[in-house]
Symmetry: C2
Subunit: 438 residues, 2 copies
């Protein structure tokens, strides 16, 4: 027996008359907002940062995966409007939460953004709203963390006055094949009505949806996807270190293993894991598992490997310099790349930052070049700047360390003018006296 | 500067005039022997077991992945002959070693089969032989373990009188798409001449070869492939146990994660790992790593999970029976399947065997049905027999445990007549009071 509020809401979604609020206009929220707006659905984007809000309203795109012209068109037609005024949540028929879920320094989930979103929604929402959480988080968050906040703040009842859903973003920054709109989306409504609303609304912007039986199944799905990556990167990092000792090129091994036509997927080693997903998401699960008296030993072990990687990379640099009878202390060391992966401009959680800190601490004279990032911060040494990659710089450097493989760097020139290279990303074909490979 | 022996040998391989000895006619050796024989290359198969040798010579196939008619044709045309007389190794221009490499009870590599093969070859081989090892083993085996044995036993010199190579089998029993001949093969010769011989010979039977720079790279490749599987199965087994506590169906989670169009490969949980590869190969690497003062923590952790799985499955059975106010002690428990995976007849390292042992120890009245295996042995209870799966058997059973999912079992009938089912393989669509799922 469906109530009137539900029917009205469903009808709005069916006829593209619902107003969609997107909470958080970052790398998840902005592409999603544009995806809805493109289909003529009115979107209000909520941002705590007035800078971002102003940018959007001026039609200025700041997210790599968003097409500039699509953002401009959406803003110009007033289909998309950004605001810092959260009281405008009362205009919305749907609210999609795209806020960050970082970990604190003790790898404990930092739930304050979700809590704050829940409170804002509860404070301003009208009766008859569909709410979807897209932030990656531990299973049970939607039902047991977010729901009580909204219910208490609003005094309204779930599945009568509002409906809840979890549907994780699957944004892969820099992925040219799969964007928000053509990536299948897993949708876990809290109850059948919520699922119906979720499927109806999301299908307007994203053609392929995969419904699951509950929010917690959808939450676990997202964590499984990224835990899979964490585990496999950690394994290959560990095997890379062993291979180095055994006079085996791990890169050659991976290329060979890839020829197996079934049952293998290649992962590549590197200086450590980075970004806003792989280093974080699995530890959300590890956190909640403890509440069930359960230790996730695979994630824990992977975490240990990854914690040690930057330090181990510093040792690699030390060993390479040692060949030239040099120490880190007093050597000029050039880092190529601080982005956490190639061809993107995001240094979040990048292992390069930790290696830079450690090398500076040991007395290294650190210089950095990243074609995508002009300024960045390390935890211990604050703001640093990228310098131009000149021949003179290369010639005057004792050791070049490739921490990110950007395709627009001319590695042949780097090879030509460098004395010594520590290649942590298989950027060089050469594997000789000059190039010290992971 | 190639020597005369090398040139003669290469020419023989080029013109299909070389005699290929295959050492060990098991699930690796026999398909390979037939693959060469099919191309008109003379093969002598060496077997310690006169029973197997006689079977082959009578044209009786005993390996699922071999086509009966191809074996018969090869034997009838005298292209393939089997023998227990290892002195006939002197007839061979190539010897391919396909012997087992098990682990002992302390997970230490049992190298005696390779040692024995090396001694036999060294004792009987003629000058001018190409030798390839296909058994899965730790990196450095070919160069540092096998080579000295052959050299010492024969008094001959590597790369003058004989050539060595490592090229792992990639047989996946029961895989209907990929067999010996259409699976790309990684080939790691010891030196350029060995590589040339290896590529020339193997290309006669296997169209796609992938050359690598050394035997140890090829050895590591095989281990990486299977370690990848071990790690991922262990992860999903651990997540399955947590999911059970969190009221989440891991099977539903995996299906949902599979909709991600990149960066994910599905692995499925089960009662533990089995077979002759996944539970063994990674521990070869762990063994040799210790020689390099290196601990492979991912493999170690995976091993810990897998060691515990059978015990944890016994606890699942106990919990399921507890719902019916029954104990394992005195209950009639029917195990469906002892093969280590579905639709094959191989119980090696099957977790079912360990669960059966534990349940018997706890006083369970164990009955087993496996449509592919009539007789098998458990470590503690010796020989056991499969019984027919009758309606009466199902009705009289307190608990059915699905340990292997064979597609020729009628699970709907099992559901209909059973009181209680512990489904460790997602064999049942139902997920209700009667079916207790992993």
């Amino acid at each position: 027996m469906s109530n009137k509020t539900f029917k009205e809401l469903l009808e709005k979604f069916e006829h593209d008359r619902g107003v969609v609020g997107v909470l958080g206009l970052g790398y998840v929220g902005l592409p999603l907002a544009v995806a809805f707006a493109k289909k003529g659905i009115k979107v209000v984007g909520f941002e705590k940062s007035s800078h971002k809000s102003d940018q959007v309203n001026a039609g200025h795109n700041y997210i790599g995966d968003v097409v500039d012209s699509e953002l401009k068109a959406a803003v110009k037609s007033h289909t998309l409007v950004a605001t810092t005024d959260f009281s405008r949540l009362k205009e919305c028929d749907a609210v999609i939460i795209c806020v960050p879920t970082p970990l604190d320094k003790f790898k404990k989930p930092e739930m304050s953004y979700i809590a704050s979103a829940g409170k804002d929604i509860g404070a301003y929402m009208k009766k008859g709203v569909f709410i979807s959480l897209e932030s990656t988080t531990y299973p049970t968050t939607t039902e047991e963390y977010l729901l009580p906040i909204i219910a208490q703040e609003s005094g309204l009842n779930v599945n009568e006055d509002f409906w809840l859903c979890y549907s994780a973003e699957r944004v892969d920054p820099g992925n040219h094949s799969f964007k928000t709109e053509n990536t299948p989306k897993v949708v876990g409504g809290f109850g059948e009505e919520a699922q119906k609303l979720a499927m109806t609304l999301y299908s307007k912007a994203i053609p392929v949806l995969h419904p699951v039986s509950s929010p917690r199944v959808a939450e676990m799905t997202k964590i499984l996807e990224n835990t899979y990556r964490l585990i496999n990167i950690s394994l290959v990092n560990e095997l890379a270190l062993l291979s180095g000792k055994m006079d085996i090129s791990i890169w050659e091994v991976i290329e060979a293993a890839k020829t197996k036509p079934y049952g293998f997927q290649a992962f590549y080693p590197g200086p450590g894991i980075g970004g806003h997903c792989i280093p974080l998401d699995p530890f959300y699960l590890e956190y909640i598992a403890k509440n069930y008296q359960f230790d996730l030993t695979m994630i824990n072990t992977a975490g240990q490997i990854d914690n040690l990687m930057p330090h181990r990379m510093t040792i690699k640099i030390t060993s390479a310099l040692n060949r030239h009878k040099k120490s880190v202390n007093g050597s000029k060391i050039l880092f190529l790349g601080v982005a956490y992966k190639g061809d993107i401009d995001d240094p979040r959680e990048s292992p390069a930052l930790k290696i830079i800190d450690e090398v500076i601490k040991k007395g290294g004279d650190v210089v950095v070049h990243d074609p995508y990032i002009s300024t960045f911060k390390t935890e211990e040494h604050g703001e640093m700047h990228s310098v131009p990659l000149t021949d003179d710089l290369l010639k005057s450097t004792d050791c070049v360390v490739v921490t990110t493989k950007h395709t627009n760097v001319d590695y042949q020139r780097v090879y030509e003018f460098s004395k010594l290279i520590v290649d942590l990303r298989n950027a060089f074909e050469q594997n000789d006296e000059k190039v010290y490979k992971l």
